[in-house]
Symmetry: C2
Subunit: 105 residues, 2 copies
DNA sequence: TTGTTGTTTTAATAATTGTTTAACAATAGA
DNA sequence: TCTATTGTTAAACAATTATTAAAACAACAA
Protein backbone atom coordinates (compact mmCIF):
# COMPACT_ATOMS: atom_id res chain seq x y z
CA UNK A 1 0.00 0.00 0.00
CA UNK A 2 1.30 3.43 -0.98
CA UNK A 3 0.76 6.69 0.88
CA UNK A 4 -0.97 9.56 -0.86
CA UNK A 5 1.97 11.93 -0.30
CA UNK A 6 4.31 9.43 -1.91
CA UNK A 7 2.07 9.16 -4.96
CA UNK A 8 1.82 12.95 -5.25
CA UNK A 9 5.62 13.09 -5.18
CA UNK A 10 5.89 10.50 -7.95
CA UNK A 11 3.24 12.21 -10.08
CA UNK A 12 4.91 15.60 -9.56
CA UNK A 13 8.20 14.12 -10.65
CA UNK A 14 6.66 12.86 -13.90
CA UNK A 15 4.60 15.99 -14.51
CA UNK A 16 7.36 17.82 -16.36
CA UNK A 17 8.31 17.33 -20.04
CA UNK A 18 12.02 16.64 -19.53
CA UNK A 19 11.47 14.28 -16.60
CA UNK A 20 8.69 12.43 -18.37
CA UNK A 21 11.03 11.96 -21.34
CA UNK A 22 13.83 10.73 -19.06
CA UNK A 23 11.55 8.27 -17.36
CA UNK A 24 10.08 6.91 -20.58
CA UNK A 25 13.55 6.51 -22.01
CA UNK A 26 14.56 4.50 -18.95
CA UNK A 27 11.38 2.42 -19.04
CA UNK A 28 12.27 1.38 -22.58
CA UNK A 29 15.87 0.73 -21.57
CA UNK A 30 14.95 -1.76 -18.90
CA UNK A 31 17.05 -2.93 -15.97
CA UNK A 32 20.47 -1.95 -17.39
CA UNK A 33 19.52 1.70 -17.53
CA UNK A 34 21.57 4.44 -19.14
CA UNK A 35 24.43 6.76 -18.16
CA UNK A 36 23.64 10.39 -17.30
CA UNK A 37 25.61 11.71 -20.27
CA UNK A 38 23.87 9.40 -22.73
CA UNK A 39 20.48 10.52 -21.46
CA UNK A 40 21.49 14.18 -21.72
CA UNK A 41 22.74 13.68 -25.29
CA UNK A 42 19.68 11.77 -26.39
CA UNK A 43 17.26 14.31 -24.94
CA UNK A 44 19.38 17.35 -25.79
CA UNK A 45 19.46 18.83 -22.30
CA UNK A 46 22.46 20.32 -20.47
CA UNK A 47 24.29 18.13 -17.94
CA UNK A 48 23.29 20.46 -15.11
CA UNK A 49 19.68 20.38 -16.13
CA UNK A 50 19.71 16.60 -16.48
CA UNK A 51 21.27 16.26 -13.06
CA UNK A 52 18.59 18.48 -11.57
CA UNK A 53 15.81 16.39 -13.07
CA UNK A 54 17.19 12.92 -12.32
CA UNK A 55 17.58 14.04 -8.73
CA UNK A 56 13.88 14.80 -8.58
CA UNK A 57 13.01 11.41 -10.11
CA UNK A 58 15.38 9.66 -7.72
CA UNK A 59 13.89 11.38 -4.67
CA UNK A 60 10.46 10.32 -5.86
CA UNK A 61 11.71 6.73 -5.96
CA UNK A 62 10.95 6.35 -9.67
CA UNK A 63 14.52 5.72 -10.78
CA UNK A 64 17.64 4.31 -9.16
CA UNK A 65 21.31 5.13 -9.43
CA UNK A 66 24.27 2.82 -10.08
CA UNK A 67 27.88 4.05 -10.08
CA UNK A 68 30.43 2.62 -12.52
CA UNK A 69 33.74 4.47 -12.62
CA UNK A 70 33.07 7.99 -13.78
CA UNK A 71 29.69 7.02 -15.08
CA UNK A 72 26.41 7.23 -13.25
CA UNK A 73 23.77 4.87 -14.58
CA UNK A 74 20.10 5.47 -14.00
CA UNK A 75 17.37 2.87 -14.35
CA UNK A 76 13.58 2.93 -13.99
CA UNK A 77 12.14 1.50 -10.80
CA UNK A 78 9.33 -0.65 -12.16
CA UNK A 79 7.94 -1.59 -8.79
CA UNK A 80 7.50 2.05 -7.80
CA UNK A 81 5.87 2.80 -11.13
CA UNK A 82 3.42 -0.06 -10.78
CA UNK A 83 2.54 0.86 -7.22
CA UNK A 84 1.75 4.37 -8.39
CA UNK A 85 -0.40 3.15 -11.28
CA UNK A 86 -2.24 0.77 -8.96
CA UNK A 87 -3.02 3.60 -6.54
CA UNK A 88 -4.86 5.53 -9.24
CA UNK A 89 -7.22 2.69 -10.09
CA UNK A 90 -7.68 1.32 -6.56
CA UNK A 91 -11.24 0.29 -5.72
CA UNK A 92 -12.35 1.55 -9.12
CA UNK A 93 -16.14 1.81 -9.53
CA UNK A 94 -16.47 0.57 -5.94
CA UNK A 95 -15.50 -2.92 -7.05
CA UNK A 96 -18.53 -3.49 -9.26
CA UNK A 97 -18.04 -4.76 -12.80
CA UNK A 98 -17.74 -1.73 -15.06
CA UNK A 99 -19.48 -1.50 -18.38
CA UNK A 100 -16.35 0.17 -19.72
CA UNK A 101 -14.38 -1.45 -22.53
CA UNK A 102 -10.99 -0.96 -20.87
CA UNK A 103 -8.74 -3.19 -18.82
CA UNK A 104 -8.23 -1.07 -15.73
CA UNK A 105 -11.79 -0.75 -14.62
CA UNK B 1 -1.79 7.52 -29.13
CA UNK B 2 -1.37 10.34 -26.64
CA UNK B 3 0.87 13.38 -26.99
CA UNK B 4 3.55 14.03 -24.39
CA UNK B 5 2.19 17.49 -23.56
CA UNK B 6 -1.23 16.01 -22.90
CA UNK B 7 0.25 13.42 -20.55
CA UNK B 8 2.23 16.11 -18.69
CA UNK B 9 -0.99 18.06 -18.27
CA UNK B 10 -2.79 15.00 -16.85
CA UNK B 11 0.10 14.15 -14.52
CA UNK B 12 0.33 17.77 -13.35
CA UNK B 13 -3.38 17.75 -12.63
CA UNK B 14 -3.02 14.66 -10.43
CA UNK B 15 0.20 15.83 -8.76
CA UNK B 16 -1.57 17.76 -6.02
CA UNK B 17 -3.05 16.28 -2.84
CA UNK B 18 -6.55 17.72 -3.15
CA UNK B 19 -6.86 16.90 -6.84
CA UNK B 20 -5.52 13.38 -6.36
CA UNK B 21 -8.12 12.88 -3.63
CA UNK B 22 -10.89 14.25 -5.89
CA UNK B 23 -9.86 11.98 -8.73
CA UNK B 24 -9.62 8.87 -6.58
CA UNK B 25 -13.02 9.62 -5.08
CA UNK B 26 -14.49 9.86 -8.57
CA UNK B 27 -12.71 6.70 -9.74
CA UNK B 28 -14.39 4.82 -6.89
CA UNK B 29 -17.72 6.47 -7.65
CA UNK B 30 -17.79 5.26 -11.23
CA UNK B 31 -19.84 6.63 -14.12
CA UNK B 32 -22.51 8.39 -12.05
CA UNK B 33 -19.96 10.67 -10.46
CA UNK B 34 -20.61 13.09 -7.64
CA UNK B 35 -21.89 16.66 -7.23
CA UNK B 36 -19.38 19.45 -6.56
CA UNK B 37 -20.81 20.17 -3.12
CA UNK B 38 -20.71 16.52 -2.06
CA UNK B 39 -17.07 16.28 -3.10
CA UNK B 40 -16.24 19.46 -1.20
CA UNK B 41 -17.99 18.19 1.94
CA UNK B 42 -16.37 14.78 1.78
CA UNK B 43 -12.86 16.18 1.29
CA UNK B 44 -13.37 19.18 3.58
CA UNK B 45 -12.33 21.84 1.10
CA UNK B 46 -14.05 25.18 0.42
CA UNK B 47 -16.39 25.41 -2.57
CA UNK B 48 -14.07 27.94 -4.25
CA UNK B 49 -11.08 25.71 -3.76
CA UNK B 50 -12.93 22.68 -5.06
CA UNK B 51 -14.05 24.59 -8.11
CA UNK B 52 -10.49 25.66 -8.80
CA UNK B 53 -9.23 22.08 -8.65
CA UNK B 54 -12.00 20.40 -10.66
CA UNK B 55 -11.39 22.99 -13.35
CA UNK B 56 -7.78 21.85 -13.58
CA UNK B 57 -8.81 18.19 -13.74
CA UNK B 58 -11.44 18.97 -16.37
CA UNK B 59 -8.97 20.89 -18.54
CA UNK B 60 -6.62 17.94 -18.30
CA UNK B 61 -9.41 15.72 -19.61
CA UNK B 62 -9.37 13.50 -16.53
CA UNK B 63 -12.91 14.24 -15.39
CA UNK B 64 -16.11 15.32 -17.11
CA UNK B 65 -18.96 17.58 -16.10
CA UNK B 66 -22.71 16.90 -16.17
CA UNK B 67 -25.27 19.56 -15.25
CA UNK B 68 -28.44 18.66 -13.37
CA UNK B 69 -30.46 21.61 -12.19
CA UNK B 70 -28.35 23.58 -9.75
CA UNK B 71 -26.00 20.67 -9.30
CA UNK B 72 -22.83 20.02 -11.24
CA UNK B 73 -21.81 16.38 -11.31
CA UNK B 74 -18.25 15.35 -11.98
CA UNK B 75 -17.14 11.89 -13.07
CA UNK B 76 -13.78 10.28 -13.80
CA UNK B 77 -12.85 9.85 -17.45
CA UNK B 78 -11.57 6.28 -17.45
CA UNK B 79 -10.42 6.33 -21.04
CA UNK B 80 -8.19 9.35 -20.42
CA UNK B 81 -6.80 7.71 -17.29
CA UNK B 82 -5.98 4.48 -19.10
CA UNK B 83 -4.37 6.29 -22.01
CA UNK B 84 -2.15 8.12 -19.56
CA UNK B 85 -1.19 4.93 -17.73
CA UNK B 86 -0.45 3.20 -21.04
CA UNK B 87 1.84 6.04 -22.10
CA UNK B 88 4.05 5.49 -19.07
CA UNK B 89 4.68 1.81 -19.80
CA UNK B 90 4.82 2.07 -23.60
CA UNK B 91 7.51 -0.05 -25.23
CA UNK B 92 8.69 -1.10 -21.78
CA UNK B 93 12.07 -2.90 -21.74
CA UNK B 94 12.21 -2.45 -25.53
CA UNK B 95 9.55 -5.12 -25.92
CA UNK B 96 11.66 -7.97 -24.53
CA UNK B 97 10.20 -10.24 -21.89
CA UNK B 98 11.10 -8.76 -18.52
CA UNK B 99 12.33 -10.81 -15.62
CA UNK B 100 10.25 -8.61 -13.34
CA UNK B 101 7.42 -10.10 -11.34
CA UNK B 102 4.90 -7.37 -12.21
CA UNK B 103 2.13 -7.09 -14.78
CA UNK B 104 3.12 -3.88 -16.50
CA UNK B 105 6.50 -4.89 -17.77
C1' DT C 1 -39.99 39.55 -6.66
C1' DT C 2 -37.08 38.13 -2.94
C1' DG C 3 -34.40 34.89 -0.70
C1' DT C 4 -31.76 30.58 -0.63
C1' DT C 5 -28.77 27.13 -2.35
C1' DG C 6 -25.03 25.50 -5.25
C1' DT C 7 -21.18 26.74 -7.81
C1' DT C 8 -17.81 29.66 -10.19
C1' DT C 9 -14.87 33.73 -10.78
C1' DT C 10 -11.71 37.38 -9.52
C1' DA C 11 -7.93 39.48 -7.22
C1' DA C 12 -4.23 39.41 -3.94
C1' DT C 13 -0.69 37.03 -1.82
C1' DA C 14 2.48 33.29 -0.68
C1' DA C 15 5.00 29.38 -2.04
C1' DT C 16 7.07 26.33 -5.29
C1' DT C 17 9.46 25.15 -9.51
C1' DG C 18 12.59 25.32 -13.75
C1' DT C 19 16.60 27.32 -16.16
C1' DT C 20 21.08 29.16 -16.54
C1' DT C 21 25.78 29.97 -15.42
C1' DA C 22 29.74 29.06 -12.90
C1' DA C 23 32.21 26.44 -9.74
C1' DC C 24 33.33 22.00 -7.82
C1' DA C 25 34.46 16.79 -7.21
C1' DA C 26 35.94 12.31 -8.79
C1' DT C 27 37.85 9.25 -12.00
C1' DA C 28 40.75 7.79 -15.97
C1' DG C 29 44.57 8.00 -18.92
C1' DA C 30 48.95 10.16 -20.76
C1' DT D 1 51.33 14.69 -11.86
C1' DC D 2 48.66 17.02 -15.37
C1' DT D 3 44.73 17.07 -18.18
C1' DA D 4 40.38 15.73 -20.01
C1' DT D 5 36.06 13.56 -19.03
C1' DT D 6 31.82 12.81 -16.40
C1' DG D 7 28.68 14.42 -13.47
C1' DT D 8 26.86 17.28 -9.42
C1' DT D 9 25.97 21.50 -6.74
C1' DA D 10 24.93 26.40 -5.72
C1' DA D 11 23.05 30.87 -6.58
C1' DA D 12 20.10 34.00 -9.00
C1' DC D 13 16.21 34.88 -11.48
C1' DA D 14 11.81 34.12 -13.93
C1' DA D 15 7.63 31.74 -14.17
C1' DT D 16 3.99 28.99 -12.40
C1' DT D 17 0.81 27.40 -8.87
C1' DA D 18 -2.19 27.15 -4.57
C1' DT D 19 -4.98 29.47 -1.10
C1' DT D 20 -8.10 32.77 0.69
C1' DA D 21 -11.84 35.98 0.91
C1' DA D 22 -15.12 38.48 -1.50
C1' DA D 23 -18.11 39.03 -5.10
C1' DA D 24 -20.82 37.31 -8.84
C1' DC D 25 -23.80 34.16 -11.07
C1' DA D 26 -27.48 30.71 -11.91
C1' DA D 27 -31.37 27.82 -10.69
C1' DC D 28 -35.04 27.07 -7.92
C1' DA D 29 -38.69 28.02 -4.22
C1' DA D 30 -41.67 30.94 -1.46
Amino acid sequence: MMKSAQVVKALSALAQPTRLAIFRLLVVRGVDGMAAGQIADKLKVSPANLSFHVKTLTHAGLISQRLDGRFVYYAANFTAMNNMLAYLTENCCAGTACELENKQC
